[in-house]
Symmetry: C2
DNA sequence: CGTCTATTTGAGATGCGTCAACCGTTGTGG
DNA sequence: CCACAACGGTTGACGCATCTCAAATAGACG
């Protein structure tokens, strides 16, 4: 787990040894999701807001969603981004404690929690799958905490880009060139920086010949090894 | 959830609506814990380290434990503190991804994951209790992320003190005067600051008449209302 | 083409980090 | 019982990374 993983739920298989059993595929859940209500929302629309009653579990089908919390004076901390395949709404109790807002036109599968309950009774492995998903999200959040708490602006942006690169590699997409679906403001609020610092750091990386920026929203990583060496690696390196 | 909650697992009851059922008390787990192996460790000893195989779930009985991650150059991010009643080792997959180190002499109940598995089979509510505990830990980590990413040094320290105060209130202890079991270094690495800044900020709060520091490790909150107003509140205030 | 928004760039201010010295407490050995 | 070392904490002076404020530029869209 090296990445600040800007994901709501990373999908790496994670075996719960004390339970045993393969929970990677759950026909019950997948069937339900395939039949579930499809919701289409525009960029900037909310999936749900802080304080809303938690009614559904959502899975992103296309698009992207930002999860964030805000302070009363408007300061905002983006906690993660959810991409296709990711679940949103996990770990909520009665009410959502974060905001989930689309950052581009998005299609969502909506699964009522009552249906989830039903599937869970039929197939107890669902509970462990949800547990794993939650554990992955916790791991990603801890990673981001390490990043915002300890790394410099440049290290933060590099870690962010490398996390996107790794995600693409996992999904079989190009790990060296990709679009950034989020604005500079979203990136800034994710990394605990200002948009000006994010922008300046992008140009610094470009000037150093480490990345290319064909458009503001598209990156190409030119020297991934040097980028990795700038990331501020974790200690164990196991 | 207003606090940066320096806890590994906060113990507030949290109902999983889509499951239903009261999971607050689990005779199976509690009986097992009571019989579980008791481990005593000194300050600075590890409960486990990053990369260790995950073998047990631990519950702090007395003392306190810090959870943290480190970068290869030694920078450290404390993710939380575990106090009596808190669980440690939740959400781990095969290997622990964080370090857990006692910050004072500590007694731990050690529950082998195999025993956990056994209890889970006997009583499926255990799975949901673990899910809830993990969700609480995620909520606390998100809170801390908001703090380190968006708040000033002063706001961070105030949020930290108020979180300890709230924890004491929940436990029926004095919310206005308490010991700080951790060092300034631990606090600094928790809040993403340096020890000098933490020390100066303590002094500033003392000078402003907001707190008293009889010893370095004891605080008394003199004007909790004003402290709350300095915390940088969250938006919803629901 | 014009407007609106997002992004970039610049100049200056500042909060926090760095480096260094000092202080108080604790524990240890003479 | 005292001397001293080790450690954690406090305070000061200074520098710098990042923030703030401001303006220019580039893209997107009607």
């Amino acid at each position: 787990m090296l990445s600040p993983a800007p994901t709501a739920v990373s999908r790496q298989p994670a075996t719960l040894k004390f339970i045993g059993g393969d929970t990677d595929e759950l026909p019950g859940l997948d069937q339900r999701l395939a039949k579930a209500l499809l919701r289409r929302i525009e960029a900037k629309e909310f999936v749900f807001a802080e304080g809303d009653p938690a009614t559904h579990l959502y899975q992103v089908e296309t698009g992207a969603v930002a999860l964030y919390k805000v302070l009363c004076d408007g300061r905002r901390q983006v906690l993660g981004f959810a991409y296709p395949g990711d679940f949103i709404g996990l770990g909520a109790q009665d009410e959502h404690v974060v905001n989930a807002q689309a950052i581009k036109p998005t299609r969502l599968r909506c699964l009522p929690l009552s249906a989830l309950s039903q599937i869970a009774r039929q197939d107890p492995r669902l509970g462990f799958r949800l547990y794993e998903a939650l554990a992955s999200e916790l791991a990603a959040t801890r990673e981001l905490l390490l990043t915002t708490g300890q790394r410099s602006a440049c290290e933060r942006l590099v870690a962010f880009l490398l996390a996107l690169s790794r995600r693409n590699a996992r999904k079989g997409q190009d790990p060296l060139a990709f679009d950034l679906p989020m604005t500079r403001t979203d990136i800034a609020d994710f990394l605990g920086l200002t948009i000006e610092t994010v922008s300046r750091t992008f140009t610094k990386l470009r000037t150093l010949g480490l990345i290319e920026l064909p458009h503001a929203s598209r990156v190409r990583l030119l020297d991934i090894e040097r980028l990795k060496s700038m990331e501020g690696n974790e200690a164990d390196a196991a």
